[in-house]
Each structure stands twice: as C-alpha cells, then as structure tokens.
Symmetry: C3
Subunit: 366 residues, 3 copies
C-alpha cells in the first residue's frame, strides 16, 4: 500500500514564460523586450536576469537601479520615476504585487505534483458519502455517513470528515484536519494541517449551591459554515454554534492558531493574523484586519474596515472603520517596571494635581 498511488510523475522544473505570454494571461503593458524569458520570481535584491521581480512600494525605487532582474512589475507612476532603466524590461500594471502573486501561482502550479484523483485504499469511507471521481482522498482519511465532496476536492492523509459534512469544489484540506458533523465548506476552501472545524462551542450553565453542583453542558447544535475562497491556518479552531451556526463569509483568510468561538460571524475578505482569539457571538465586518494575538470579547459588533493592531484587546463594539490599539511596545525592563508602578497609582497622581490646582487658585484669589 503506497502513498504514491495517488501521485503523478514529478513535474518538470524548467517552467518558462515570456513577458508576452504573461501579458496575454494577466494583462499589463510591456515596456522593453516582450520576448524576455522568465524562469522564476525573486525579490529585487536577489533577482537574476531570468527572474521577474516587482516594485510595490516607491520607497524601494533605489533598488531598481541595481537589481539584476530581467523584468520588473511596476506601476505607471513609479516607472516614470526610474532614472536608469538599463537593460531591464518592465511589465506595467496597476497592482504589481497582486500581479506578482498570480505569476507566482503559475510557476507553483507548473512545478507542483498535482494530486491524482482517486481514493487511497487505506481510507475509510462510509458508503453513503458522495465522493466524485475527480476527488483525491489520501491515506487513512476517514469520511463518515452522508458527507458530500465537490469536484476535485483533495483530502490529504488522516483528514477526518464527520457525518453530513458538505465540501465545495476544489477544496484542499491538509493532513490531520478535523471537520465535525454537519459543517459546510465552500468552494476552494483551503485548510492547513491540524485545524479543527466544528468542535463544540464552550457553553455551560452553572448549577451550584455553595461548593457542590456542576457545570451543565449546553449542547452545541449549530454548525460551522465557511464561504467560498476561505483559507484557514494550521491548528486553528473554529467552534460550531450553540443553536445557530458560526459563519465565516467568503474570501476570509485566517492564520495559524486562531480561535473563533461559537456563533461568531466573520465578514467577507476579513483577514485574521495568528494567535488571535474571538469570543462567542461576536460579529466582525467585511474587509477588517485583525492583528496577531488580538483578543476580541464576546457579543460585540465590529464595523466594516476596522483594523485592530497586534496584541490589542477589544472589549467594546467598534462602530466606525479605523485603526484601534491597546498594546504597548516592550522597553527595557527597569524603565517599564518604574512606570508601570506609577500607572497603578495614576489616581493618586491625579488627586495631587487637583490639590495643586486648588492651592494655586486659592493663592491667586488672595
């Protein structure tokens, strides 16, 4: 029983595109040699003549004078600022970074082994599950009853799919991902290893008299619904809802080790960086950016286009777009401790200030 049963032969490593081919596929205007051959991508500082590079920020214009890149993606405005174009060719486009990403995807696709369709013999699949012939099911995958997979869905080794889960076309789940029963994953969902979708939300009703009693578990009967084009990082956890669903709208990107509690709704295109945690029933708008290790309390509403900087804590709803912060940068420990001790006595400092103001007022009125 071999893992390679599902693999195509190794891809060629000599992928190449001319600037003209790229412009035909992705648009943009060529300034220079349209027959210029691109064999890979690289940042300006390390690019060689066979590489395509990009200038996304005019502050790196100086690097353009010295880069060895054969061609550079650039905006029209920035190209006008280039003094010495040298032998370099340019691909002029309004968003060089996004263009670069799309070309990089072409190279990556050409150099990657595609997953061949088929079901590895070690997989354990309930006969009621619907697996299209184009799907690729890796070794030791487990798929429970009534699950439905989309075309070309790819489940890598050890993935667990619970009862009645629905997975969209072209979804790709890495090794050891768990999807609990009843959850729905949109088209092109990408989930990295170890992520857990649909575990029980954390809900218990206290029933204590003094020291005795118990936490009574509230059954979590909702599920998780992921829209299309959602990406979820390694070991991230998204809990199922208590009575209704936890919803991640289309185009949301979530990094590693993020916690999203039950009944949250994350608006379309929002990005959430690693180690963030969002408590239950909070609704986050569209196009938000949640920084790394941010914590957001439960039952809040964040407007569209809210940005929360890394390590901040949000404890009230934020009704306007904008940038929000509550984190301090680390400084030398001794200086920090000196000031932190004063911070805990600001009320006393304020009282002294008030007293002084009164004293002066009195002395001036004399």
């Amino acid at each position: 029983m071999v893992a390679s049963e599902l693999k195509a032969p190794p891809a060629a490593n000599d992928t190449m595109f001319t600037l003209e081919q790229l412009a035909q596929q992705f648009g943009g205007e060529i300034v220079g040699d349209s027959a210029c051959c691109i064999r890979g991508l690289a940042p300006l500082e390390s690019a060689q003549p066979q590489h395509l590079s990009f200038l996304a920020n005019p502050k790196y214009l100086a690097q353009l004078e010295t880069t060895q890149a054969g061609a550079v993606l650039i905006t029209r405005a920035d190209l006008l600022k280039v003094k010495n174009r040298g032998a370099r060719s340019f691909l002029v486009a309004p968003n060089p970074y996004a263009y670069f990403a799309r070309v990089a995807q072409c190279f990556a696709a050409a150099q990657q082994l595609p997953a061949l369709p088929g079901i590895h013999p070690s997989a354990v699949i309930d006969p009621s599950a619907r697996i299209p012939a184009t799907a690729s099911i890796g070794p030791h995958v487990v798929i429970e009853a009534n699950a439905v997979l989309g075309a070309r869905a790819r489940l890598e080794a050890h993935v667990y799919i619970g009862q009645g889960v629905t997975i969209g076309d072209d979804a790709h789940l890495s090794a050891q991902v768990t999807v609990y029963h009843g959850c729905t994953l949109g088209a092109r969902t990408r989930i990295h290893a170890g992520a857990v979708i649909g575990a029980d939300g954390f809900g218990f009703a206290p029933d204590f008299k003094g020291d005795t009693g118990e936490w009574v578990k509230i059954p979590q009967t909702g599920a998780v619904v992921l829209g299309d084009d959602v990406e979820i990082g390694a070991n991230t956890t998204i809990d199922r809802g208590a009575m209704s669903d936890t919803v991640i709208e289309h185009g949301v990107k979530i990094d590693n080790l993020v916690q999203i509690a039950h009944n949250c709704r994350i608006g379309a295109y929002t990005v959430i960086a690693a180690c963030a945690g969002i408590a239950g029933s909070t609704v986050i708008g569209r196009h938000c950016m949640i920084g790394g290790a941010v914590g957001i309390a439960g039952h809040l509403t964040l407007a569209d286009r809210v940005i929360v900087t890394a390590k901040s804590g949000v404890s009230k709803s934020l009704s306007k777009p904008g940038v929000y912060t509550s984190a301090f940068p680390a400084i030398e420990n001794a200086a920090w401790n000196r000031n932190a001790a004063l911070m805990r006595n600001l009320d006393k400092m304020k009282a002294r200030l008030k007293q002084l103001e009164a004293l002066i007022l009195t002395s001036q009125n004399k």
Copy 2:
C-alpha cells in the same frame, strides 16, 4: 472497510416532550398547560409555539411579552413580574438556564446517532490493552500496551492512546486526540479534536560556557491526571509533570488552544477560556474563572473563586477571591499612541509634579 460499521441507523427527528414529562424528569412547577408539546428549544426572540425558551436574566423581561415560544423556563420571582402571560405556559424553576441546558441535552441525545459498541477493523490495538465490549473504537485508532478503557468509552478516528493510559467510563475523545503514556482520564472525560494530553513539560537545564554548551533536557517522568467530568477543548495542550503529575480536578472545563504547563494543579469546577496559558507548577483554586488569553506565570497560587478577566497577565499569587485585571480596551490608534508614549514617561511627570508641590510649599512659607 466502512466507517458506518460502528453507527446505528439515523435517529428520528421528531423528538417531543410534554411539559409534564419534563417536570417529572427535571422538577419544576408548571404554570399553564401541562400537556403543552415541546419539539425543540430556541431563544426568546426566535422561538415558535413548539419551542421551549428560557428567561435567565430579568433584563430580557420585555421579550417575554412578544415571544412566540409555547413555554418558557423562568424563576418564580421573574414570573411575578410578567404582566401579560398570553397563551404561554411556564415552567418555574430556580435555575432556568441550567434546566434549559438539561432539556437541550435530552433533545440532542434523542437526535444524535449513538456510537455503536465495537472496534473498527482498521484500529491498531495492543493485545494487552483492556477494551470493554461496550467501548466504541473508531477507524485508525491506535491503543498501546496496557491501556485500560472504561465502559462505553468512545474513541473517534485517529485517536492515539499511549502505553498504560487509563480512561474512565463514558469518556469521549474526538478525532486526532493524543494521550501520552501513563496518563489517567476520569469518568465522562470529554476531549475535543487535536488536543494533546501528556506531552513533555518544557524543562531544560542550561549548561553553557560562553557561546557553547547545551540545554540539557530534564526527563518529564510525571503524567497528567484528569478528574471526572473534565472537558477539554480542541487543540488544547496539557503537559505531563516533571517528577510528579499535572492534575486537573473534577468538573474543570477548558476551552480551545489553552496551554497548561507541567505540574500545574487546576482546582475543581474551574473554567478556563480559550487561548489562556498557565506556566509550570502553578496551583489554581476551585471555582475560578480564567478569561480568554489570560497568562499566568509559574509557581503561583490562586485562591478559590478568583476571576481573571480576559487578556490579563498574572505574575503574583492571588490569595483572595475577587476579580483581577491588567488589560486595556483598544481605542483609536492615534489617541492610544499619544497616551502610551506618556505612560513610558510617567516617572518624569511625577518628578515635575513633585517639583511643583515643593515650589508651592516654598512660596506659601514665604
């Protein structure tokens, strides 16, 4: 080889209880129609006549006037405040929320597929392990030598049970859970997917001379002991002790992505929200509530009934019950930065204040 080998036929979805049946099982007094049929549960705002709802907080009394719920769980005190009871029936109980949770469990149990006893043929089980006939062992589970499972223990797909692990009756471990050798899990333990119980604590002795040397690993020879009725969230990690055990007492509930380091002891009924981290050898009392993303330093002792609010850091022992905090709420970035810069110079502000006080004192004494 099919996953469904261990599954019962689908449960009926037309579960129904009369108020009288509920009162017989869970107590409480019926005010209204004891034959009222309950087919499900819902919050006040979305409940329909076939639903049971609950009022746990008198601030939602207004919703009672308009809810479509057929019956409502309520305290006697709150029922007296209801002006217009309409056609609704009431179930009067001292703790409506806990009552609601117990009824919800009834519905959930009736609507869920029970796990059938048996061992999936793909499981790999050491012959010295003791597996009762009532246990349910899912596909690709691995159980090492001398492990002992309780009655009706349920291990879902890909669970790994190390050597000599003991698991109590009615324990339920979701997919991809790892339990290292020698750990003990109490009755009704519930562990969600990806959690890791008993990995090595983080212990190394530094042995360096200048730039060379090594961190010498300290073998972690203790284990993890979980009491009865402990629930552990997805991808949470609880490390084994260095020379003695890490202990989680009965009734503790732990959310997702929580880290509990070696040799901690968590007192009975304490709850720990997601993303919290507790460093080594810290002892937390009973009935504590540790908020999300809280960090607690090592070698501390927290009294019973301590509450630490979300995102706070605890660096000293807390000997009295109470609520403790060290987190700031996020505000607009510009305002935050302006004040944060001043916070790092509080010592200078204090010095200026002191100088002013001296000046005034001098001028008054003239």
Copy 3:
C-alpha cells in the same frame, strides 16, 4: 495488527547507580560514601535515602539540613556553607542542575521501553522514500515520495511526512505530527504531538476595487529548516517561507502552541515559551529567551541574548542584549479600571501639569 509489534519487553524498574558510577560517567567529586546507591531522583523536600537530589540555588540551603536524600548534587561554594552534613553524601559539580538532568536521563532511558526498529504494517510509505533498517515507524504513519529518514529515526502513530522531507539521525516525532513537503529536520530533532512544520506562510496580495476583488495568494515556495537538537512542543506551528526558508538553528527549544511565521530565523540555543507568536521575517539572535505569550512583530531583528518577559509585545528591533517588558501584572479589577481610564487621558493630565507650571512661573515672576 498490533501496536506492540514494535515494542521491546517491559524494562526493569530497579535501575540503580552508585555515586562512583555516576562520577565516572558524568564527572564531579564525591564527598562521602562513593558506594552510596541511587535508585531515583527527587527534589530536596521529598527525597528519601535512595534518592539523589540537587541544590541549584543557595537560597534553599536550609532544606539541606532536613532533607532525607541519600546524596545531593551541589557546587563547591555551596557545600562550604552546609553546617550539618549529616549522613548525606555529596556529588560536587559546577552545575548541579544540569548534572541532575543528565542522571535523570539515565534513569528515564533505563526505565523506558525502547522503540524497536521496523515499520508497522499499517504505515503507508512511498517506495521512493529511504527508511533505514534502524528506524521505527509506528501505526498509520504516512511517508510520501523521496523522503529520507536518518538512522534510528522514530515516527509515532499517525505522523505525516511530506514529499522530499529529510529527517536527521535519532529524530523522534510524536503522534499526529505533520511535516510538509521539502522541510529538513536535523539530528535528534524532537517534535511533540500535533505540531505542524511547513504549512503555508500567511501571504496574500490585496487586489480590491471598493468592495469587490480578492486576496491573491502568494505561493509559499520556501521550506522549514530545523538544525540539530531542536525540540518543538505540542501543537506548535512553524510556517514555510515565501521564497526562501524559515530557519530554526541548532539547539533551539520551543514550547507548546507557539507560532513562528514564514521566513523567520531563530538563533541557536534560543528558547521560546508557550503561546508566543513571532510574525514573518523576524530574525531572533542566539541565546535569547522569549517568555510565554510574547508577541513579536514582523521584519524585526533581535540581538543575541535578548530576554523578553512573558506577555510582552515587541514592535521594534532590539539591538542590545537585555531584558525587555511591556506587560502589566493583574490587580483588583476596580483599581485597575480606575487607573486605566486615567491612562487614556494622560495627555490631558500632562496639559494640566504644564498649565500649572506656567502659572507658577508667572506668579513667581510678578
């Protein structure tokens, strides 16, 4: 198919060393009975006559007077301070704690079942993978094409090894670990359960016009390279680089639930405590100590021997060794809230102070 196929018979539990044997193996000078038999290790307060204990910190000297330990590891300087040596023997060494750790490793090795070499029949291994005869491959392990394992490498149940991964001699990966394609693990790498090495870094180029558009994924074509003697905790995630590699140098020790983003470099012997997160492209020096739940922003450089205390956030490069902090300790909630509100108005307090200073200056000049 039984898990025990790969296990040796249980080890004896009566391991014993004389002080002389220990001194021969690990050095140090015996003061007392060199034939003293050591059957285990224990801390001073619970040690019995058959135990070896250690004094690493002179503040515990008082415990030496009362300990029941048969022998104690101690520095020469501390031994001179012991008033009543009693019947105890001493092993004098410059680093008692590291010595203790090494002896503990001896006992642990003697009492542990060694993993027998061999491949469990349920493992799925590509025929192009190179697995030495001395390796131990557990149940349900999956190894993809062209992976290369070192001598005595040990992969426990459900480990997933991607294409072209290279693993050094004596590496040991616990259950459910995932290593993505192309990553390299050094000799004696130790990875705990659920860790994910080499998932995609979090990189997307925004391409929006108003509300429509998409995040364009930037292919993560680098890998992760771990040096020798690296230990990685449970459920920790280390992302692959975007165009170049993420690098963890030799001797680095990383705790549980840590996130290391793409293109980071962690210098040799640095230790990172649980729940820390390090954003992309940050370079951390050698011999650093990163506390629990610390967050470090992207594209920073931290010098060698930087210490960041627990829960702090680093948002600027730190060019000098030293201890850095930005975390507050939790205090009573009411006092905290009172002062936190003032903190958000420090700018107003400063303005009042300035006004007072001006007033006094004016009144003095009259």
